[in-house]
């Protein structure tokens, strides 16, 4: 039971720390030809998404060709920087649309976290 209580305490502390660190919101979208095995994505732990494994797997695949479609960073003060691939064809325009939708979803998620923190402080 002590572990459980400690885990709760840590959870609260970690949330606070992560909020302190979060000065910007980053959204990145890549596209490319790649082969990833399911095992690379989740690793040995079925619950664990392993981003490092995914990137390593791509590195190992000589045919992997990863292209940045768009990168957006939104600062707490509202400043926003966007990098978008040039000369997009109609299919790639869909990717940019997807990227924009991800920005909106991310902002909603961020709002949910901030609301939760507010609830804890109030």
């Amino acid at each position: 039971m002590a572990n459980l209580e400690q885990a709760f305490k840590n959870l609260k502390a970690n949330i606070a720390k992560k909020v302190d660190d979060a000065v910007s919101l980053d959204v990145v979208t890549f596209t490319g030809n790649f082969n990833i095995k399911v095992g690379d994505v989740i690793g040995s732990d079925q619950n664990k998404f392993n981003l490092e494994n995914v990137l390593n797997s791509m590195k190992a695949d000589v045919n992997a060709d990863l292209k940045l479609v768009a990168y957006s960073t939104i600062k707490l003060d509202g400043d926003q920087v966007n990098i978008v691939k040039e000369n997009l064809d109609s299919e790639q325009m869909e990717l940019v649309k997807f990227h924009r939708e991800m920005i909106e979803a991310s902002q909603n998620s961020r709002k949910a976290i901030v609301d939760m923190i507010k609830g804890l402080v109030d």
Binding site: A7, V27, I117
Partner: protein, 546 residues
């Protein structure tokens, strides 16, 4: 990563608890059977799955066609409940506590979701004996006529919607017929008498019964004096048997008993049919309910003060105390947090030996509840078990009403009320399951374990959303338009679910200050989760409206 390792302990413990709950198909099967979408399930896992899915599809199709919810509402509910959509919708429809109102009466000959619900509700109150999947027709109208007569309601729609609020039904009966009709005269046949858990002569105390009666009832002294003389008479020759027999067979008494049976069934004290026949099962359940009430309220209300054996198999039951308790449950109550605080403080103050006893007792009750729950589900799947009530509103109210005494009950009254407490914890476990699932999702999201992967035409899209909203996506090139849409919808679904879970974690964290002060067991955490989930259900519309 140290912080993830710390959270692992929490996740592992929560998942272990959640794993013990088992699957939810028993509940879905029961609901589908009750609505006439499903009869017997065939043998063989594959055949069972095909039959079950066909019944679920039919339910969903009728739900859409019913227009009880509009398309936007359905979309929001789908996003909220994701894979559990059908289960949650069935549970809402089947609830007789805060059930969903039907918006339109079916036409004669129609079979749709409304006709099935009307048949189910009438059937639960003993007013419809056919399968709920039959067409709306003459038998339905007969049941509706009786219902409207008893509840003094002129509209079919209002009458049938009244049945989805069981406290409302009791309030209406009290307001129309007054306290006097809460004296129930019942006959138990010779066979049933042998099944009683108490001896009839033990409930033959005119003094105790009369004392309670005069305290509870605001009746005219003349009526009370007549009652004492004609019913509670020491000599059977002086009892007015014609009156007793007449009152035990009149239709209204029969209906009120059915209403009480529905309440007792929903509380887990009654396993029999809601047929208005007050046999040994009903009388035994009254005795069980009283024991539980006494332990939970530090009261000492003896059975003989509420039940009197007149003779020749006839009893008179003072139902007013029970009815008043049920009606009180309908009153708004915002003391949940006080209950949790008080419970945690009490458990924190236990001596070492009491703490050990509390833990041992609690584990015994929980183990029993888990085993029973498992067996109950297996039987429900096969269609041979008793019908289980899955609604939560009145249960939660009862839970929090006796909540402050849970520690004491577990510590001191365990032998007397083991079965009732075990039944009670079955409900806690069932409800806690939902709360726990959301909680686990929330924790996984926080430590970054919710990848969203979509496969479309052998191409892959992966999105990883971090706790603070940072999002990383990789999509195969080319990826079809259909693939984007599919992946986008999946991401939104997970993020909405995660927002809900994060809010839930927030609610739990708010209660931490109490938990960390003393000893805390999982049942108390489940109470907290249950409370937090309930709060969030009220808030969820806000999240999903965006």
């Amino acid at each position: 990563m140290a912080e993830s390792e710390n959270l692992d302990a929490l996740l592992v413990e929560a998942e272990q608890q959640a794993a013990q709950f088992g699957d939810d198909s028993a509940e879905v099967i029961q609901h589908l059977r009750d609505l006439g979408y499903l009869n017997q399930l065939p043998f063989g896992a594959h055949n069972r799955e095909v039959t079950l899915n066909a019944a679920l599809s039919k339910f969903e199709a009728e739900l859409l066609a019913s227009e009880i919810f509009n398309k936007d509402e359905i979309q929001s509910l789908r996003a909220l409940y994701t894979n559990a959509f059908a289960e949650e919708m069935l549970r809402k429809f089947m609830d007789l506590d805060e059930g969903i109102p039907i918006n339109e009466m079916p036409q004669t000959g129609e079979i749709n979701l409304s006709s099935r619900l009307i048949h189910y509700r009438l059937g639960m109150y003993g007013l419809y004996a056919l399968n709920a999947g039959h067409a709306f027709g003459f038998t339905t109208m007969m049941g509706l006529q009786t219902l409207k007569h008893h509840l003094s309601i002129s509209s079919n729609l209002d009458a049938v919607n009244q049945l989805a609020n069981k406290e409302g039904v009791l309030k209406r009966i009290l307001s129309i017929y007054g306290n006097e009709r809460c004296l129930m005269f019942v006959h138990v046949n010779a066979n049933e008498m042998k099944q009683l858990h108490f001896e009839p002569k033990k409930v033959r105390s005119a003094r105790d019964f009369y004392h309670r009666l005069s305290e509870d009832f605001e009746l005219k002294p003349k009526y009370l004096a007549g009652f004492k003389r004609d019913i509670l008479s020491r000599h059977q020759k002086d009892v007015k048997w014609e009156y007793v027999k007449g009152r035990s067979t009149d239709e209204l008494t029969n209906f009120i008993i059915k209403v009480l049976q529905v309440h007792q069934w929903m509380d887990g004290f009654y396993d029999g049919k809601t047929d208005g026949e007050i046999g040994s099962m009903s009388l035994n359940s009254i005795a069980d309910l009283l024991k539980f009430y006494n332990a939970g309220n530090d009261a000492d209300l003896p059975l003989k003060s509420m039940l009197y054996y007149i003779g020749k198999g006839y009893f008179v039951f003072n139902a007013l105390t029970m009815i008043n308790n049920y009606v009180i449950e309908d009153a708004p109550d915002s003391r949940d947090e006080d209950v949790i605080k008080s419970l945690t403080i009490q458990s924190g103050r236990l001596t070492e030996s009491d703490r050990a006893k509390f833990e041992a007792n609690l584990n015994a009750v929980l183990d029993s509840a888990k085993v029973e729950l498992h067996q109950q589900k297996q039987k429900a799947k096969m269609g041979i078990g008793k019908r289980v009530y899955f609604g939560i509103r009145s249960f939660l109210k009862k839970l929090f009403r006796i909540g402050k005494r849970l520690v004491k009950m577990i510590l001191h009254h365990l032998k007397k009320i083991f079965k009732q407490l075990s039944d009670f914890f079955k409900r806690v476990l069932e409800y806690g399951k939902q709360a726990l699932k959301s909680f686990i999702q929330g924790i996984k999201y926080i430590i970054g374990r919710l990848p969203i992967i979509t496969e479309n035409e052998h191409k892959l899209a992966i999105t990883h959303a971090e706790f603070m909203g940072d999002t990383f996506s990789i999509l195969s090139d080319p990826f079809s338009k259909q693939g984007y849409d599919k992946h986008h919808e999946k991401v939104l679904e997970v993020q909405r679910s995660a927002q809900f879970s994060v809010a839930l974690v927030g609610e739990v964290l708010k209660l931490l200050k109490y938990m960390l002060k003393g000893f805390v067991g999982w049942p108390i955490l489940i109470l907290q989760l249950a409370k937090a989930t309930r709060t969030l259900y009220q808030k969820h519309q806000l999240i999903y409206q965006h």
